[in-house]
């Protein structure tokens, strides 16, 4: 066999299949050599001739190897596919046979997945989506100081210098009065810079975009682009709208286009009814471009080949140059580039925490649902031991059996996932309907590919979570074990043990959610009872927008004064005063200030400490809200334009800004504001401004007459313990009686307005309560299932006990005691988890300690009661069993 020796190293190198080919070819050559030798050739000659007539051995061998490899791969694929289909068909058949089980499992999974998908839809809408209708790749958001908008001056400055790597556009929302035909109304407009639509890549449904050339004189470019939604709702989708004239704050504008339906704004969470060139801000509001300070939200489109980090570095270089050129307005300013997913950076941070918590909560719910299904599967697994044993006896490997059982789990999970997705769609559309009208249309909460993918992935993971353990257990039986006569009895201890562990997990999860819900509820009550420092009871709020009222600031001020006087003269009204911001109602104004001593030693001190919240109020404000002035005076008729600029600060500001000094008479000015110094004329008592649980911030009140605005809220205090309804009616009629062209004002009570601040607590309490109850329900089902199973398993034992004289009461105690022991374990774990969870949530809770004893005792007690009931139902059945019957059940 000398001729085959050369092959040997190869044989060792390659796998069996290859050596088979080698052996086959070697045999051929060997036989051929022998044949030639028999014909009289010498061995060497014969071997050479055999190789020659064979052709290229290596080529043939390689060709055959390749063919075999391809073929084998194809065969394996086909087999896998075939066995998969077999599993699916078999699974479908099995599941069809037990509709009750399928229904219970599917509903459990569906509830868990629906909760997750719903929450994820909201997360997706607020944190993950890019603005609709724009070409999002290559877009960035440009902020100064982490997450703040820019001034027009700076945008223009950057735009000229950054054009090589980034195009820059900006948008600023502003409410505006619009008149289409006869009816005036308020609309949400947005001013946009040059090239806004083309840079973002927004399609037009009709007409053309507004080009917004800023060099044109105000009034010469009076055009607007309508949003698709506004066009549909207000103009009934009239296709001849292009070229129509509408009036903005009384000035004629021409509609030149309608944007694509998907486009709402360059920012997620905003929605504009129409867009106008920024240069026309002067026409409608008298604002010059250089007056636009830090209110423009900037979007940039990176040039091809430039990434965000590179662009940011170059922008920072530019920023440095700007700060050197114009130091007074730009000291301590930096620039940052952000991605365009989700809401603005400043809103995103708190939302990320809340979303994370919420996702965690719904994951717990899903885990509990999984435990439920796993428990059901374990029960089934015990019932299917015979079947599995037969399959294994006829040669199915353990892997094959596990795969079959997992296929069933995946089918269940997909069924549950589909139902859950449908439920989530319903929930999301319900949430959408409940959204305030300003947000509606600005957030796209509807499902997209992300959500669908999330749900599908979740369903598959779920299948493994609940299906793997039961499948492994079911396949772990030995043949003799399963085939034993009383096979149904052996090994059940294991099933019960796992089942009990699962129930403990469920109880712990439910306990965690319910006690957290209780904390939120208590926090809500505590927050509602907090003293805000002023008296909101008996105050009616009237939101007034005079931007449609003809005339300048003086005319508007006169209008406000007249309105306040008329309101105060109404029967049943004690006081009335205007404010720009309603405290604890979800909005605020903030602006950095500088003290005279800061000049020359800039950089000293914490910048945050110079960032007070502001309110702009009319004389009588403090009296109206019963917010005491502790020093100095309240604003009065002397604080008018031309008089020294007056300010009232809160006690905290007085103490912080001028420690140990007399605050009255102190001076400060707003950073970058040319209006000059403000002089402190009074100190107001500290109050709550943004949230009931906040640390009191710096707060400054300015006089309306010195800081004119067009949108104000009139606080009206009702006399006595007054009824607000009658006053509300009278107030509603007041604005139209003064100027019939103004849109009707909104009337609400101040307490209604203040409810907004409690929304997070209210939402948290409601959601956690709902999810906690769901978890409790699922846990109760689990307890019921496990106890039923235990009763069934112990029928004989109980029969013997009954025969030996145990009363049914004792039997009940036996079974329930067993169940309650597991529940107790779950409760202990739940409480152990609830305490750190409560501590972690401390920032969101107001006036409650997470270690509140009543919460930590009441919730477990309630859960235990439910658990007791859930185990009592099946236990009762077991205790009633007649001894004779039970013994015969074998």
């Amino acid at each position: 066999m000398s001729d085959t020796r050369g092959w040997r190293p190869l044989r060792r190198l390659f796998a069996q299949r290859k050596t088979d080919v080698d052996a086959e070819l070697a045999y051929h050559i060997q036989m051929r050599t022998e044949e030639l030798m028999a014909a009289g050739r010498t061995p060497d000659d014969a071997h050479a001739e055999a190789l020659r007539v064979f052709g290229n051995v290596r080529e043939v061998r390689d060709a055959v190897w390749r063919m075999d490899a391809t073929h084998n791969a194809r065969v394996r694929r086909a087999q896998r596919w075939e066995s998969f289909w077999q599993d699916v068909r078999y699974g479908a058949r099995t599941l069809r046979k037990s509709p009750g089980f399928v229904a219970a499992a599917t509903i459990s999974i569906a509830l868990g997945i629906a909760a997750n998908t719903t929450v994820f839809s909201m997360v997706n809408a607020t944190l993950l989506r890019t603005p609709g209708g724009v070409r999002a790749d290559g877009l960035v958001r440009v902020y100064q100081n982490h997450h703040s908008p820019l001034s027009f001056h700076d945008i223009r400055w950057f735009r000229e210098r950054a054009s090589s790597f980034m195009q820059i556009v900006a948008e600023e929302p502003l409410p505006i009065g619009i008149r289409i035909g006869a009816e005036p109304e308020r609309a949400q407009a947005a001013v946009v810079t040059e090239g806004f639509f083309s840079t973002l890549g927004v399609r037009m449904a009709l007409g053309r975009p507004c080009s917004g050339e800023e060099t044109r004189a105000p009034g010469s470019n009076s055009v607007i682009v309508l949003s698709h939604r506004y066009w549909l709702h207000r103009m009934a989708g009239d296709s001849s709208v292009v070229g129509r004239t509408v009036h903005l704050n009384g000035h004629p504008f021409t509609v030149v286009g309608v944007a694509a339906p998907e486009f709402a704004s360059s920012q997620v969470g905003w929605r504009a009814d129409f867009w106008m060139p920024i240069g026309e801000l002067f026409t409608v509001r008298g604002e010059r471009l250089d007056d636009i300070n830090w209110s423009l939200y900037v979007t940039g489109r990176l040039a091809r080949g430039v990434d965000r980090a590179q662009a940011e570095t170059r922008m920072q270089t530019l920023m440095h140059q700007l700060a050197t050129d114009e130091p007074e307005a730009h000291e301590r300013m930096d620039v940052r580039l952000d991605h365009v997913r989700g809401l603005n950076a400043e809103l995103r941070a708190p939302l990320e925490i809340a979303s994370g918590l919420l996702m965690l909560v719904v994951m717990v719910v899903l885990l509990i649902a999984c435990a439920n299904v796993a428990n059901l599967l374990l029960g089934r697994g015990a019932a299917r031991r015979g079947e599995v044993a037969v399959r294994m006896a006829i040669g199915a490997g353990r892997g094959r059996v596990v795969r079959q059982l997992l296929t069933e789990s995946v089918m269940l999970a997909l069924l549950g996932g589909a139902l859950g997705y449908a439920l989530a769609l319903a929930a999301v559309s319900a949430i959408q309907r409940a959204l305030p009208p300003e947000i509606d249309g600005a957030l796209q909460v509807g499902p997209d590919a992300h959500v669908l993918l999330f749900t599908a992935a979740l369903a598959l993971i779920t299948a493994v979570v609940f299906g793997l353990a039961p499948a492994l257990r079911a396949s772990r039986l030995s043949l003799s074990d399963a085939m034993r006569i009383d096979g149904g009895r052996s090994g059940t201890g294991g099933r019960t043990r796992t089942g009990r562990a699962l129930v403990a997990v469920q109880v712990a999860g439910a306990m965690l959610l319910l006690s957290t819900a209780a904390l939120f509820t208590r926090s809500l009550r505590a927050a509602a009872g907090v003293d805000p420092g002023f008296d909101a009871r008996g105050v009616v709020d009237l939101a007034v927008d005079v931007s449609l009222h003809p005339g300048d600031d003086a005319a508007h001020l006169a209008f406000f004064r007249q309105l306040a006087e008329r309101a105060a003269a109404l029967p049943g009204v004690r006081d009335a005063a205007f404010a720009a911001v309603v405290p604890l109602a979800g909005s605020n104004i903030q602006s950095p200030i500088e003290l005279p001593r800061d000049a020359g030693n800039a950089g000293e001190g914490d910048a945050r400490a110079r960032m007070p919240y502001l309110n702009i109020v009319s004389p009588g404000y403090f009296r109206t809200l019963r917010l005491p002035i502790v020093r100095g005076r309240e604003f009065d008729a002397s604080d008018v334009r031309g008089a020294p600029l007056a300010a009232i600060v809160n006690e905290h500001a007085a103490r912080t800004l001028w420690p140990g000094q007399e605050p009255i008479g102190q001076r400060f000015h707003f950073a970058g504001d040319s209006a000059g110094d403000y002089r402190v004329v009074g100190v107001a008592r500290d109050a709550r401004y943004n949230t009931p649980g906040e640390d009191v911030p710096l707060f400054i009140y300015l006089a309306l007459a010195q800081n004119p605005r067009t949108q104000m809220v009139l606080h009206v205090r009702v006399a006595g313990d007054g009824e607000t309804a009658g006053v509300s009616r009278a107030l509603r009629a007041l604005v139209p009686s003064l100027d019939p062209m103004l849109p009707p004002a909104q009337v609400s009570t101040m307490q209604q307005d203040m409810r907004v601040t409690l929304l997070p607590a209210r939402g948290g309490a409601a959601l956690l309560g709902a999810f906690g109850s769901l978890a409790m329900l699922l846990a109760a089902t689990g307890i019921f299932g496990v106890t039923s199973y235990a009763v069934a398993q112990r029928t004989r034992e109980m029969g013997i006990r009954a025969a030996l004289g145990a009363s049914s009461r004792e039997l009940l105690r036996l079974v329930i005691g067993d169940a309650m022991r597991i529940v107790a374990v779950g409760l202990v774990i739940g409480v152990a988890l609830a305490v750190p969870a409560g501590l972690a949530l401390r920032g969101l809770l107001y006036g409650v300690t997470p270690l509140h004893p009543i919460t930590l005792l009441a919730m477990p007690a309630a859960l235990a009661a439910v658990a007791f009931f859930a185990s009592w139902l099946p236990a009762r059945r077991g205790a009633r069993v007649s001894p004779l019957l039970a013994m015969r059940a074998e």
């Binding site: 086959e24 070819l25 045999y27 051929h28 051929r32 007539v53 080529e59 043939v60 063919m67």
Partner: protein
């Protein structure tokens, strides 16, 4: 003889293998030898070409292969016809005969009377 060598038309080898195996299981070497002997060397197969053909036919399910022992005690891979292969053979033989008949007729035909 050499001038009468016939080039192997594509598919011919397949028919020959099928035919050879119709007498019973055989290993690759024996198949080659059988073809050589029965065609008196008129059809020259490069012996190596046999093996890709055999494996392809095996993958198509026309023949099956199994390791076995030859009469002189050596291990060899034996091929045998499957029922699918038998059907193939029938169809191909018929096709071949039709072709031969047609070719013969065409080549022997006399010019048409005008």
């Amino acid at each position: 003889m050499s001038e009468q060598e016939i080039d192997l038309i594509q598919g011919t080898l397949t028919v020959l293998i099928l035919r050879t195996l119709s007498w019973g299981p055989m290993n690759g070497y024996a198949i080659g030898r059988w073809i050589r002997d029965t065609t008196d060397g008129a059809i020259k197969v490069e012996e190596g070409a046999l093996y890709p053909a055999l494996h392809r036919m095996e993958h198509r399910g026309w023949i099956e292969a199994e390791w076995g022992t030859t009469e002189n005690g050596r291990r060899a891979r034996f091929y045998s016809l499957t029922s699918l292969g038998r059907r193939q053979l029938r169809a191909r033989v018929q096709g071949w005969e039709r072709l031969v008949t047609a070719m013969t007729k065409a080549l022997r035909a006399s010019p048409r009377p005008t």
